[in-house]
Structure formats: C-alpha cells, structure tokens
C-alpha cells in the first residue's frame, strides 16, 4: 500500500521506493516497529535537508542505510536493557510477519520452513546489533567497503564483525545448512 502523488517528483519517488526496505532493515536491527519508523523518519529528514548537496535518487540509498545503521547502533547501545512483550515475542521466534506462502507448501515443507524462519530470527536476535547490521547489509549485496562505511569502522574491522556474525549464525543454523548442502 503506497501513497501516490500525481506529479512527477524524483525525490518523492525515491522515498516511496526506498522506504519499505529502509524501514524493514531498521526493524530487524531495533526489533521494534515504532522505534524503527521514528528513527528512519529522522534519517530521511536529515538526508532531505541536504537534498541540494546530494543526488538522492542516485546516491541516497547508501547514505540512507549508513545513517540508519549508525542510528540503530547508537540507539540500541544507548537503550536500557528493558524487554518489552513485543521483543519477547520477537525473540521467541513467533514471527508474525513470516510471509512464506504456506498455502502452496506441503505440510511438512511448511513446517520445516517455519522452523527455519524461527531459527534464523532467533539466531539473528542473539547477535550484537553491529554484527546483525553487517551480515544483513552483506547479504543484501553491499560490498565490504560499503559495509565498513555504513558501520563507520575500518575495512578490517568490518570483516571481523562480519566473520563473527557468520560464525555464530553458522553454528546456530548448522542443521539447516547441512540440509541445504545435501
């Protein structure tokens, strides 16, 4: 469901195009939908304030993800260790947003798929936010140079962060990886 505007506006189109991905990414890092929307809105505001300096339709996505990544890391590290019911639900793997089309899947396949989705969600939630960001950005096709820039760390540090994330996930998801490799 995307609002439409009648006039051609490249920046508005850029916002419409990038906002679901940006918001979804922030949600996975913060694990709170409302916090994520507030944060992403702030990031858009900062970028739009400099729309005269940047070509947002061309370069804005990387800038946006960099801004979101930093803001999410800052917010997560600043936040007190309180746990909401939403977070508990999220951490428990009750993935209310799971979208796999289970209507067409065989019952057993659907069960396996749900189990995998829960396992991935749980494993991701156990990662520190910087590791979560690194592995998500990398899986979405960003280069290591871009990941390092978005995390605002050196290239070497980014590789270490990514390596640790993958290592943890590989251990946690080992049974599923083995199934996939068979």
């Amino acid at each position: 469901m995307t609002p439409r505007q009648s006039t051609h506006d490249p920046i508005d189109e850029w916002v419409v195009e990038t906002s679901p991905g940006a918001l979804g990414y922030a949600v996975t890092l913060l694990r709170n939908r409302e916090d994520a929307e507030d944060l992403v809105h702030d990031c858009y505001s900062r970028l739009l304030a400099k729309s005269g300096e940047y070509n947002l339709p061309r370069d804005g996505k990387k800038l946006l993800y960099r801004s979101i990544t930093n803001a999410c890391i800052n917010q997560t590290q600043r936040r007190s260790p309180e746990t909401s019911l939403d977070q508990l639900q999220w951490a428990s793997g009750e993935d209310k947003h799971a979208l796999a089309d289970r209507r067409t899947a065989e019952p057993i396949q659907g069960a396996i798929l749900r189990e995998l989705e829960r396992a991935v969600a749980e494993a991701m939630n156990e990662l520190p936010v910087a590791q979560r960001a690194a592995v998500e950005l990398r899986s979405l096709g960003h280069t290591m140079v871009e990941v390092a820039e978005m995390l605002e760390v050196s290239h070497a540090n980014a590789r270490v962060i990514l390596h640790r994330a993958r290592e943890t996930l590989a251990v946690r998801l080992q049974p599923f990886i083995e199934d996939e490799n068979q």
Partner: protein
C-alpha cells in the same frame, strides 16, 4: 579470514537475505512515507515566528533546560489539547467522530504513558548544542494533568501540571519551581502554552485549533484495520506559532491514541518533530502528578508569578 572461502557463508547469507526480505515485504511504509512528505513540505513553510524561548526560570535551570522545556511543555501540552480538548474540525466528519471518541476515552480517569521523542530539524540544529538536540522522555497523562521525566544528555528534568493547574519544573529532587500565573494575564505566546494545558479554556480552541483542517486517512489503515490515522493541517493562509502539522494514530477498537506526531515550528522555520508513542495505560497515584512527590521532604520549592513585562520581553510582544 576469507569469509567467502567457507561454503557455509553462502548458505548463511542466503538465509539472512531471505529473513530480511521477509521483513521488508511485510512492512507497510505508508505512515513513514506520509511523515516524510510532511517534512518535505515544511521546507517551504513560512509560518509566523515563534517567539524567543522562555527564559525566566532560575539561571541554572533556565540555561540548561529552557529549549528542552519549551519542546516538552509545548509538545505535552499539545498532546493534551488534542486528546482532551474540543478538537472538532468542521471539514471532516469522520475525523471529528474519531476524535470525539478519542476525547471521550482519554477523558476517563485512566493514566496513559507515552514515550516522547524530540528530533530537531537538522537544517536548523548545528549538531553541537546538545540542549537543542534530540531528547527522550516518558510522559504520563490523565485528563488535563501530566508529568514527564525528560532525559537530554546528562540533564534529567521533571515537569508537570497538577490538577489545580499549577505547572512545575524540577531539575533535582532537592528543588522545584511552581508557576502560578493566571493564563488570562499572560501575553499571547505564553498563554498558548498555558491554555493548551487547560481543557476548559475556550480560548484554546480559537487560538490553537481553529486554524487546522482535519482529515481521516482510511487508506493508511493497517491491512487488518488496526489503526486509524487522522491528519491535522494548517488551513491555507493560516499560521500557528507552534505547529504546522499533526498526525494522530488511533486504535479504532479502544479509541486510545497510540501515536501522535507533531511538526513544530519556531522562528518561522521547521523546528523538528515530536513523536508520542503509547507505552502503557494503567492506574497511577494522584501524587505522581504533583511536584512534591518528585522531591525529597525538605526540598526547596520556589513559587513564581512571572512579571508580564519580563515575559513580553522574551516573547516579543
């Protein structure tokens, strides 16, 4: 350490990619897009100037908290106005009905707790002055009462409005300040801030709410219809010293205001956004809305009645 040399990395990346893509596909970004559009529209805003900030508090408190106080007081006040006030715009029957229900619900003796976030407009904040930077607070409201615990950097500030209308501020448990001005005696800009805290002041409707159009946005409901959005926007040609736009997100089943976003203005330009997010609704002791409950027993309480001349100096009237 060559990650790509490990076959498991590809499998891990694939699983992570599918996980992220599921989240993205499930996201409804309608509300976010609408908020970003409002922010963009504000670039051309040319509203009346907001007068300089209130600075008649005691020096230490005033110097550290005046901008934040303005933001929080204004924001809290505006939320109370919209929740409890007679906010019945003539241009959208649906929106009016929705807000009547919200008004009724929030008129009950139920305490609602909101997290309040202030995000300054990056074009007008230099990023250095922390006093004008982002802030977070916890706001409790009941009818026309409120109290807020605000954190901004190292500053912890509590402020509120008691049942008798007295507004108070405290920067430590050993000292508090109460303000007892009659809103009718205050200059306009100050009166607006006071008036929006008072649900019984008809002037509030005339000065604060009459300039806004209401618009319910049914297209922005969740897929399961779990929320209703109402926009309040300045009517064409109108101006307001504090606000340009307001977004209310309402739970249609409970009529509780789940979220409120205020686009504020200051000195004729966008000042930033204040976002309220409902955290809980419960029953709070009456004492919590009183200054004394936030102070130690032998704390010093100053009572201020602001000299109108001083206030006018600061507010440009």
């Amino acid at each position: 350490m060559i990650d790509r040399d490990q076959p498991s990395n590809d499998a891990v990346d694939k699983m992570v990619r599918e996980y992220v893509e599921r989240e993205i596909v499930a996201i409804d970004a309608t509300g976010l897009i609408a908020r970003v559009r409002v922010t963009r529209r504000q670039e051309n805003a040319s509203d009346d100037c907001l007068p300089p900030r209130y600075s008649t508090l005691k020096p230490q408190l005033a110097s550290r908290s005046r901008s934040f106080t303005w933001v929080v007081v204004t924001a809290a006040a505006m939320m109370l106005a919209f929740v409890g006030g007679r906010y019945l715009g003539p241009h959208s029957a649906n929106a009016s009905v929705v807000l009547r229900s919200v008004q009724s619900e929030h008129g009950r003796a139920v305490d609602h707790c909101y997290r309040v976030q202030y995000a300054p407009d990056p074009r007008y904040w230099d990023g250095k002055n922390k006093l004008e930077g982002p802030s977070t607070s916890t706001l409790w409201t009941r009818g026309d009462r409120f109290w807020s615990d605000c954190t901004m950097g190292s500053l912890d500030l509590k402020l509120g409005r008691e049942a008798n209308g007295v507004f108070w501020v405290s920067s430590s448990s050993s000292k508090g300040i109460q303000f007892t001005n009659d809103a009718a005696d205050l200059p306009k800009a100050v009166a607006v801030i006071c008036a929006v805290n008072s649900m019984s002041v008809p002037r509030l409707m005339g000065e604060v709410l009459a300039d806004f159009d209401l618009h319910a946005d049914p297209s922005a409901q969740d897929a399961d219809g779990a929320k209703t959005l109402v926009w309040a926007r300045l009517k064409p040609g109108r101006s307001h010293p504090l606000l340009s736009d307001v977004l209310l997100e309402i739970d249609p089943e409970t009529n509780v205001l789940n979220r409120l976003v205020l686009w504020t203005t200051r000195d004729g330009h966008p000042n930033g956004t204040v976002t309220y997010t409902l955290r809980e609704s419960s029953e709070l002791s009456d004492d919590r809305y009183q200054l004394k409950s936030h102070l130690v027993v032998d704390a010093e309480i100053e009572v201020h009645t602001l000299p109108v001349a001083d206030v006018e100096d600061h507010f440009g009237e």
